[in-house]
């Protein structure tokens, strides 16, 4: 016997004790698919025959069954299931999970069962038990279908069992093996002319007279339902779509209007409103068996489809992840009507709840049903009903291109009952579950990156109290590790170790970039506010942001931010950046100077006071010691102490010089300096595919040079194998740092480099000797300090740098790839969370 069961379903084995259910299960299913009540009794009580713990055992069994089904895994319940009560639970679970329940009955002669039971010494059910079960089974058999089992198979003998073959069949909605490409078309509502125009625009060969349209090679149309009602040519639309469907050129899912039409055609009484009357009249006017064909066509439509390995789902009114690939009346209703709760709005229409706001599924869902002025993607759910029949547009969404192709309605065929404006609620609001707790974030560069609960707890406060609108935050920069500690006595950091890091890992060419001493900033600029609204979902009229490395607005006052962004916009306009890179927005990684602009409080509260007290204090000590030495030229220890304080005094002067170099007074916008050093992303492109010379040169060519605010960065390409190149770069660093430069950043020539599977540091910094006074303290260069400071470990810092780098690139990839906000934000939040990790702040 051939037993066909859906790939995903719950299977109840039904049979008296001893009928061979467990043996049958073992030969027919994977061991993990079978949940046996005996096994669960044993799990919780150490005795599989302990009937007293049956209630608890079934609790545990159904708990596990539910988890499996939620994950979309077939599950077999191996229990007698001869009582209606126990089967009720199975049906309940099937309904809850929107799957079919299947019963496989092992209806073997009672004598066989009794005999088998007798052979088992661990189980001595009296024959009365078997008889009772057999009686219950007999009664049950009639009712199984009625109970709610979609398929019932009965095996009456050992031979039946031996012969049977279980075949798992995919659900009708399962078209995972279809990869498209598709042209998904929104609600047509009888707008035949617009439909044919759209199909032509999409490259279909349309014969409007004979109602046929042949797709371009390889493509298929997918209609999202609501083919008829309200529009002028309902029958024509139906004919065309039915023909395309028949010839294999189109898929079609039903809409609520189609469902209502079907009901009417089948003779049920429905309210003839919302344009149904016209549709009916037009159908009646058609010749031949058209009415019958329409009936059969709609009747045969599948509520939704899952395409392309589960990456694309289409349904008329959308579908949450838990319903995708499932089949039940509930699922079908959702596909037709969307998320409703019985309420109606002030227009008397059912309230449509914004299901997409909750959507966090992996699949892209394309749907229609709710007319809106423009195509809208909320969390990876794209509504493409642009209200053609209401005078809007007919939209096709091309997959996998993710492009829209549209045709304007010739006119308003039907006055909208409620305005087409998107409900304000239709936003991609972030949920606490998108970020909280322990998380593993999948990254292309470094696999799964772990964010611990402590880290996300710490970041939540920072993110929600200080960070800018998350729509703007598509990237947070990673921390950067210094090079290994130098073995030169005078230096904590020296270029040798920076070069060595890369050379020893097989990198032969690096780029040394001058390190500016300002504050790290990430700049997002859109050409205008419309781009900001469309691409970033920021509709407050701003066109960009300058943010800090923790995602805060760099400037407290919006005026300065806006002015700097405007200057950048002008520079990019003038240089032709937008056209050259075919983009309307850009994300830059930059250093913003002066340091004192952002760090003023730090300078005034900490750096300057230390300089003041240190200089004056040591000077006073020197003066006192000089007097003492004059009074007692041979006084024990006086001259040594004087030397010591003279050295201190000198170091405090140097320290003061060091911090002063990075401070200047800002009287106006022209006193700021911005040095971009990475172009992080533009439309369609994350720039980690470009090497650093290309970054530097593109910045020079398109951003800096015209406006003095924007500074190019000095850099040098170093061939690590070349005996002359390395010393030259080292000299460059020495010169740079002895004249007050912060130091340099050494990067591999290519942006992202692996050694085998090991991701290398995207950059290591090598900081100047004088600069480091403001990090390690004014007196760090004395031998007694230096020897202690040299014992520093970089491991944690480096691991952090790599994780943050991987997350940063991932967030850009996700943003550029059109992923929903929550996916981008997850990575950005992850970087911030990592930053709560305690590492030596001096590194």
């Amino acid at each position: 016997m051939r037993i066909e069961i859906p790939e995903l379903c719950i299977v109840a084995l039904v049979g008296v004790s001893g009928s061979g259910k467990s043996t049958f299960a073992k030969t027919s299913f994977k061991p993990t698919e079978v949940l046996s009540s005996d096994y669960f009794r044993a799990l919780i009580s150490d005795d599989e025959n302990n009937q007293a713990v049956s209630p608890q055992a079934f609790d545990a069994l159904y708990y596990v069954a539910r988890k499996r089904l939620e994950l979309g895994l077939l599950t077999v319940i191996d229990a007698t299931n001869v009582q209606e009560e126990s089967r009720k639970e199975i049906i309940k679970l099937a309904k809850e999970q929107n799957i079919h329940a299947v019963a496989i009955v092992l209806d073997l002669p009672e004598s066989v069962c009794r005999e088998r039971n007798a052979k088992r010494d661990d189980r001595n059910f009296g024959s009365t038990v078997i008889a009772k079960q057999a009686a219950q089974l007999k009664r049950s058999l009639k009712y199984l279908k009625k109970d709610g089992f979609r398929f019932v198979y009965t095996l009456k003998s050992e031979a039946d069992i031996a012969d049977c073959e279980i075949v798992r069949t995919p659900l009708w909605n399962d078209r995972k093996s279809e990869h498209g490409p598709f042209d998904i078309i929104g609600d047509v509502h009888g707008c035949y002319d617009e439909l044919t125009e759209l199909l032509r625009k999409l490259g279909y060969e349309v014969d409007a007279e004979s109602f046929t349209a042949a797709p371009p090679v390889g493509r298929k149309a997918v209609f999202l339902g609501d083919l008829c009602d309200r529009g002028p040519k309902n029958a024509e639309v139906l004919r065309l779509v039915m023909n395309m469907h028949k010839s294999g050129g189109a898929y079609c899912v039903p809409g609520n209007h189609d469902a209502k039409l079907l009901k009417h055609l089948r003779g049920s009484s429905v309210q003839v409103s919302h344009g149904l009357a016209v549709t009916l009249e037009q159908i009646e006017n058609q010749v031949g068996g058209f009415k019958r064909d329409v009936t059969d066509f709609i009747d045969g439509l599948i509520s939704h489809y899952v395409f392309d390995d589960g990456k694309l789902v289409v349904a008329h009114a959308g579908l949450p992840e838990k319903y995708q690939g499932r089949a039940s009346a509930r699922v079908r209703d959702f596909c037709l009507y969307g998320d409703t709760n019985g309420e109606t709005d002030e227009f008397g229409l059912p309230v449509r709840l914004p299901w997409a706001e909750d959507y966090r599924g992996r699949a892209l869902v394309v749907y229609g049903h709710t007319p809106i002025p423009e195509v809208r993607n909320v969390n990876g759910a794209v509504c493409i009903d642009t209200g053609c029949v209401f005078g809007g547009k007919l939209t096709a969404y091309r997959y996998p291109e993710r492009e829209t192709v549209q045709v304007e309605a010739a006119r308003e065929y039907y006055a909208p009952i409620r305005p087409l404006a998107p409900t304000e609620k239709d936003e991609d609001l972030l949920d606490i579950e998108d970020i909280s707790g322990k998380r593993y974030i999948g990254t292309k560069l470094r696999g799964r990156v772990k964010v611990s609960e402590e880290q996300s707890t710490a970041a939540l406060e920072v993110m929600s109290r200080y960070a800018a609108d998350p729509h703007w935050l598509i990237y947070l920069p990673p921390t950067m590790s210094p090079c290994e500690t130098s073995d030169l006595p005078e230096y904590l950091e020296y270029p040798t170790q920076a070069f060595e890091y890369y050379r020893s890992r097989g990198v032969d060419k690096v780029v040394c970039e001058r390190k500016h001493m300002g504050s790290r900033s990430v700049i997002v600029l859109c050409r205008n506010a419309e781009v900001a609204a469309q691409r970033f979902g920021v509709a407050d009229g701003s066109n960009g942001i300058i943010s800090t490395r923790t995602g805060r607005h760099f400037f407290d006052d919006a005026v300065t931010e806006r002015a700097l962004l405007e200057r950048l916009n002008v520079a990019l306009d003038r240089s032709g950046f937008w056209a050259e890179f075919a983009t309307d927005w850009v994300c830059l990684d930059a250093e913003l100077m002066p340091w004192s602009a952002k760090a003023r409080e730090l300078v005034v509260e900490q750096y300057a006071p230390v300089g003041r007290a240190g200089r004056d204090g040591t000077r006073a000590a020197v003066a006192a010691l000089e007097s003492a030495l004059a009074a007692q030229p041979n006084g024990a220890g006086l001259s040594e102490l004087l030397d010591r304080y003279r050295e201190k005094s000198d170091m405090l002067e140097r320290y003061t010089d060091a911090y002063r170099r990075y401070c200047w007074t800002v009287n106006g916008i022209d006193d700021y300096r911005i040095a971009p050093f990475h172009i992080l992303a533009t439309e369609g492109k994350v720039w980690n595919t470009e090497n650093h010379v290309r970054h530097m040169e593109t910045i020079k060519a398109f951003i800096t040079g015209t406006d003095p605010i924007f500074m190019a960065t000095d850099y040098m390409v170093v061939d690590l194998a070349d005996g002359a190149s390395v010393p030259a770069a080292t000299d460059w660093w020495v010169e740079l740092t002895s004249s007050g430069g912060e130091g340099m950043v050494v990067k591999p020539y290519d942006f992202t480099v692996f050694k085998g599977t090991e991701l290398l540091q995207p950059a290591v910094k090598c900081r100047g000797r004088e600069y480091l006074r403001i990090i390690y303290g004014a007196e760090y260069t004395t031998a007694e300090h230096m020897s202690r400071l040299k014992k520093r470990s970089l491991n944690r810092k480096r691991n952090l740098a790599l994780n943050e780098f991987a997350l940063g690139i991932e967030s850009l990839e996700r943003f550029v790839g059109g992923e929903p906000l929550y996916g981008v934000h997850e990575c950005v939040f992850g970087v911030l969370a990592m930053e709560s990790e305690p590492v030596d702040p001096r590194l």
């Binding site: 972030l430 004056d616 220890g637 002063r660």
Partner: protein, 454 residues
């Protein structure tokens, strides 16, 4: 970092006998827990002798073992270069005997007032500079000081808080040392060690003879003891030999915070709410009020700061609470800029003094989280009334009441926002004031009580 004491008169090198430090020995060095102290004499003449105490603090030792919580502060730190509690400790270590007044060979000199002066280099003066005179003059000193700009290159950064302080007077050496010992930390206000019970002992000992009668005694004691009320109380009670000073407790007007809690509590009570969630519960003051009232059967507190939740949990003693209380009260970390299923399902939500801590641009999200997703039947929300700021003398027109406030609304602005929220999310609301009401300015706090239209 440097203290010099100069004795003017005849046979002034005798200062060495009083300090127990021989002037002719070059430098003498003493090890301290945080570095070293050097004593030497910059001037030794018959008529004028100066002793110097120079601190040599190891900055790396200072930073050690402090973890990373303070960031770079530990590494770039003024402590090695200023005259702070480190100096006080050094004085007591190096000149301990002199402070007792014992001077075996020159006892008479030690017991006599002398013409002494002291120069204290780089005293961090965390007070009005005028306080220097008000503190030292009653002790018989002529006070002078010089202060300096923070950085001469950047005059716009203003003055530094450091002063070079000179004291001149006819005093006993031991008194001079004790005055300096006690008063350095009074000005600096950053002790490098834990201020505990033994600080009261020290203050009683070092302040004997002079502190009791000092007109600024309260100021000195408060600051020396870090304003720890129990320590200050202990000082005064022990000073009077166990007789505690009659603490004048005027009948005080309840604080604004208390009034606010009371008003919000009443609003929740009157609304007939049984389950309440306090959004931004802080350390749980409102929660503990709610807990005492049986009407509230389900109470939750949410805050974005884990530290606040810990304090709330301590205040409510949740760790050791009975099962019934544990079932009644929940605390969790959450944020009002993320949608959160845990906020839903309460009759009422309170949002006290929270929204002004959010950037105005994030308010739209907050509105949706509270009024659209959680949508409790009642929302009680308070925020400062900007109009009232005019009443506070210390606030200028642009100032806000708290450094973290992102905005403060006038009554008109608040009313407009309340109206907009009601229209958007289907609520009706009543707005009122909390605290003393002033004509033209209203009350310091404004409250909106929102009720969902059914």
């Amino acid at each position: 970092m440097l203290l010099t004491i100069t004795y003017t008169g005849r046979d002034t090198p005798d200062l060495g006998y009083l300090l127990y430090k021989n002037p002719n020995r070059g430098t003498q060095t003493f090890d301290l827990a945080f570095g070293r102290a050097h004593v030497f004499y910059p001037e030794i003449t018959d008529t004028r002798t100066t002793a110097a105490l120079l601190l040599d603090i190891d900055p790396l030792d200072l930073a050690k073992g402090k973890g990373n919580s303070e960031g770079l502060f530990d590494y770039v730190n003024d402590r090695p270069y200023v005259s702070s509690s480190f100096m006080s400790v050094a004085i007591s270590k190096v000149f301990g005997t002199a402070m007792t007044g014992r001077a075996d060979s020159r006892q008479e000199l030690s017991d006599s007032p002398l013409d002494l002066s002291a120069e204290i280099a780089m005293l961090p003066c965390n007070a009005d500079f005028a306080m220097l005179a008000r503190i030292f003059e009653p002790l018989g000193y002529t006070v002078s000081y010089e202060n300096c700009v923070l950085d001469e290159r950047f005059p716009e950064w203003g003055e530094s808080r450091y002063v070079n302080l000179s004291l001149r007077g006819n005093v006993r050496l031991r008194d001079l040392l004790k005055h300096i010992y006690v008063l350095l930390p009074v000005f600096d206000r950053q002790k490098h060690y834990w201020v505990g019970d033994d600080e009261v002992d020290k203050l009683l000992r070092m302040g004997e003879d002079w502190l009791e009668a000092h007109p600024e005694r309260k100021y000195i004691v408060d600051r020396y003891l870090y304003r720890q009320r129990d320590l200050v109380g202990e000082y005064f009670s022990r000073l009077n030999d166990g007789v505690s000073e009659p603490e004048v407790t005027p009948v005080r007007e309840p604080s604004l915070n208390a009034k606010r809690l009371d008003a919000v509590f009443s609003a929740l009570k009157d609304a007939g709410a049984h389950s309440v969630i306090d959004l931004g519960c802080g350390e749980g003051r409102l929660l503990s009020l709610l807990l005492k009232d049986g009407q509230f059967t389900k109470i939750a507190g949410m805050d974005v700061a884990q530290s606040a939740l810990k304090r709330a949990s301590d205040r409510l003693r949740l760790e050791t609470a009975s099962e019934r209380i544990s079932e009644r009260v929940t605390l969790f970390q959450g944020s009002l800029t993320y949608r959160d299923g845990r906020i839903a399902g309460y009759d009422a939500a309170s949002v006290m003094e929270v929204i002004e801590h959010m950037d105005a641009t994030r308010l739209a999200v907050f509105e949706r989280v509270v009024f659209d997703f959680a949508k409790p039947r009642v929302v009680v929300l308070t925020t400062p009334n900007r109009d009232y700021n005019a009443v506070y003398e210390k606030l200028s027109a642009e100032d806000m009441r708290h450094g973290d406030h992102r905005f403060e609304w006038t009554r008109a602005e608040f009313a407009a926002w309340v109206k907009a929220v009601c229209a958007k999310f289907g609520y009706r609301a009543a707005v009122s004031g909390i605290g003393e009401e002033r004509e033209d300015y209203g009350s310091p706090t404004q409250m909106g009580v929102f009720e969902r239209c059914e």
